[in-house]
């Protein structure tokens, strides 16, 4: 299968190196809308605005500041930021293996699939099979885009998945919201247990769908039939006819074409 992933490199640990590609595992089904100007249906654009000068600020006048107090900032340059960023990973270096059952779902951030690249199929299958049987996952540090992620490599649905995990400092302490312990009657406990047992089912996510999304799609389908879509005015054309050399050549050629016709 010709797969073109988000990232390609190798998974490695001890003496094993498996060439893989990273591909998305989920596709949020959100219906997104463009913001339009109600008068002429022009698609609107976001601009950075300076309230002090009451004007739109061009990109070359925009810098970063870290807010340390009211109206107080530390200015951080691109170079400074770059100097502390890790280089893009070429490998997913597994640092340790853990039992996936120990990872609370609160740590799960975003799932991806890993697919074997050419030559990696056998080693990939081997790792997949062992992980599937043992419920073990490999923990690794991995730089994707600008961020360095903590990731778990585990088996899912017949493939290796890479799950980005939250760092522990991102997890908010539950302390403040954990309710006080109350005394619990044994009888109540039994009752709740029974209720839950009665409602037990196999996890079958296919039964559920995003109803709002379905309705929006149906609404859009109806609309496209009932009403012609509105059209945005044509974007203002760039100045000029094109590259000067080309325009000159075209003018000359067009003269000849007209003469010969």
């Amino acid at each position: 299968m010709a797969v073109q992933g988000i990232w390609s490199g190798t998974i490695s640990f001890s003496l094993v190196a498996i060439p893989v590609q990273l591909v998305k595992a989920v596709e949020p089904g959100r219906v997104s809308f463009r913001m339009l100007h109600s008068k002429d249906y022009s698609p609107l654009r976001r601009r950075m605005f300076c309230p002090e000068e009451d004007r739109v600020v061009p990109p070359d006048e925009i810098i970063r500041g870290y807010e340390i107090g009211p109206d107080k900032y530390l200015v951080i340059t691109d170079e400074e930021l770059e100097s502390v960023s890790s280089a893009r990973s070429r490998t997913i270096e597994i640092l340790e293996f853990i039992d996936m059952k120990e990872v609370d779902s609160i740590y799960y951030d975003h799932p991806y699939y890993l697919v074997p690249s050419k030559g990696g199929e056998k080693a990939y299958q081997l790792l997949l099979e062992v992980m599937r049987r043992t419920h073990k996952a490999g923990l690794a540090k991995f730089v994707l885009g600008e961020r360095e992620y903590l990731v778990a490599v585990k088996s899912t649905e017949g493939a290796l998945a890479l799950i980005t995990l939250h760092y522990s400092e991102e997890i908010l302490p539950a302390g403040d919201i954990t309710p006080k312990r109350e005394k619990i009657d044994a009888e109540d406990k039994v009752r709740i247990r029974k209720d839950i047992k009665k409602m037990m089912a196999d996890f079958n996510p296919g039964k559920y769908a995003d109803e709002r999304r379905k309705k929006i799609v149906a609404l859009l389908k109806r609309k496209v039939k009932e009403k012609a879509p509105v059209e945005a005015p044509e974007a203002e054309e760039e100045e000029g006819e094109g590259p000067a050399d080309l325009v000159a050549a075209l003018k000359e050629s067009m003269g000849k074409v007209k003469k010969s016709r």
Binding site: Q4, K24, G242, L246, L250
Partner: protein, 301 residues
């Protein structure tokens, strides 16, 4: 629902609803459609190869609703080739690659009457293999006006030492392709070039040509749509059927043929029907082959 299991190249494929008439006012069933694509396969497959297919499906026939499908349906057979593409806007997706007869038969079994593909292959999504001029007649203009514009365009391009190929859109227009097939070419190049060409055409033939998309400017004129030269756009593939009243094909024409037909004054003469398409392709070979192989460099950029 009737089903028939066929085996192609050792792969089993279950075909359904073969007797369903998808062109009811003409009388052309799913079986006819599969048969057309089977016979035209040697000609169309090289043009579909390794390109992200957009399916345009007409499950209830050409007179009823259709829908576009850019993602390769998840219920595809395991042997169907796919690629992952990341569009400029939006999320990564899996697309179908129609590289063999069995996949072509499978997508046609989905009533994907029209096959639309981008100007670039999935392996090099930013490299157009050709530059296209989509000639689309406005109200009160017709394919003969497109033919006039196409012939001027051909002459203009050939003065710049660029050979071009022509096909009917299978609807009302004509498509002029300039083969490039150089890995250095970008969509930025083809956009810049085609835009300049379209503008000079408009400036010199203001009563015949417009580059403005809005309907009111297109009246009685031919709209040269140069903006199809974009990685996100697709064109109907040469030899694809079109979903009109009759099973008309987007078919390549020799320039000489267009010269002859343009003078005859009958717009219908330029349209090529399914059976004629197969017969002519077998006799004359693939008139669109240069689009895939001829290397040309856009000058003056």
């Amino acid at each position: 629902m009737s089903r028939k299991v066929v085996e192609i190249a050792g792969r089993r494929l279950s075909l359904s609803n073969l007797e369903k008439d998808l062109y009811p006012s003409y009388g052309f069933t799913k079986a006819h459609i599969l048969e057309y694509y089977r016979r035209i396969a040697p000609f169309i497959l090289p043009h579909l190869r390794d390109r992200a297919l957009t399916l345009k499906r007409y499950p209830e026939g050409v007179e009823k609703d259709f829908f576009f499908e850019k993602r390769c349906p998840s219920h595809r057979p395991e042997w169907a080739k796919t690629a992952e593409v990341i569009p400029d806007e939006g999320e990564q997706m899996t697309v179908c690659l129609v590289n063999d007869l069995e996949t072509l038969m499978w997508v046609e079994n989905l009533a994907s009457l029209e096959l639309h593909v981008p100007l670039a292959r999935t392996g090099s999504p930013e490299t157009p293999d050709s530059m296209v001029f989509d000639l689309d007649p406005g109200d009160q203009a017709n394919i003969l006006d497109c033919a006039r514009v196409a012939l001027i365009l051909r002459d203009l391009l050939s003065r710049l030492r660029l050979a071009s190929c022509l096909k009917t859109s299978g609807k009302k227009g004509l498509h002029v392709y300039v083969p490039l097939n150089r890995k250095e070419t970008t969509f930025e190049d083809t956009k810049k070039f085609s835009r300049a060409v379209a503008k000079i055409m408009q400036n010199n033939y203001p009563d015949l040509v417009t580059v403005k998309m809005a309907k009111e400017y297109r009246k009685a004129k031919v709209f040269i749509n140069w903006s199809q030269n974009d990685s996100s756009k697709t064109m109907v593939c040469v030899y694809s059927l079109r979903a009109r009243e009759k099973p008309v094909v987007s078919f390549p024409l020799a320039w000489r043929e267009l010269e002859n037909l343009a003078g005859k004054g009958d717009p219908e003469k330029l349209q090529v029907m399914h059976s004629e398409a197969v017969r002519r392709a077998k006799k004359q070979g693939d008139l669109f082959r240069e689009v895939l192989v001829k290397k040309q460099r856009l000058p003056h950029l």
